[in-house]
Amino acid sequence: DAGVTQSPTHLIKTRGQQVTLRCSPISGHKSVSWYQQVLGQGPQFIFQYYEKEERGRGNFPDRFSARQFPNYSSELNVNALLLGDSALYLCASSPHPEAGAGSGELFFGEGSRLTVL
């Protein structure tokens, strides 16, 4: 069975540009979350969507936005890129709306590494 897939795997942008990252969850998973992992730090929560509705938002500026499609895939958009946006962006899926329900396990993709020059 396919795991969580993310695209692109690597990309380079310049300051001020916009980027769209894509995520396909595991089949049957209705929840998708996005995390930012800056080098040397743990992942930081950006968004969670369940059944196409936003269920949580982390402490990120409005330049960050996301959406979930009817097939449960998701996109993360970042506008007006800054050097500090350089990071590994991780997508995770789960069959549950809450981590406390069921297994509570998130299944992570390998990430999209964004470099902003």
Binding site: G42, P43, F45, S94, A99, S103, L106
Partner: protein, 114 residues
């Protein structure tokens, strides 16, 4: 605010030696607790989790962790480390009602010497 502290940034052990990775959390109530592992070029994989009940939990790959409420700790252990265990290990919490919002520590990078 909820936080997770992993005091050890980098640990090196010899293959076959025992391992303990430390994790402390700051939260008013007992959160859900997790350990994830990230190998180079791969996504994070869940090792084990604690929701309630028995404070000693068993995970995959021979890992276990013990929840100690009095110390707000959830330390990860393995009795005998294999070279393939070299990776970065993250402790994480989900506050009650926090949906799938995981709060991660900064991670501990484990190196294994032959």
């Amino acid at each position: 605010a909820q936080s997770v502290t992993q005091p050890d940034i980098h640990i090196t052990v010899s293959e076959g030696a025992s391992l303990e990775l430390r994790c402390n959390y700051s939260y008013g109530a007992t959160p859900y607790l997790f350990w994830y592992v990230q190998s180079p070029g791969q996504g994070l994989q869940l090792l084990l989790k604690y929701f309630s009940g028995d404070t000693l939990v068993q995970g995959i790959k021979g890992f276990e962790a013990e929840f100690k409420r009095s110390q707000s700790s959830f330390n990860l252990r393995k009795p005998s480390v294999h070279w393939s265990d070299a990776a970065e290990y993250f402790c994480a919490v989900v506050p009650l009602g926090g949906y799938n919002k995981l709060i991660f520590g900064a991670g501990t990078r484990l190196a294994v010497h032959p």
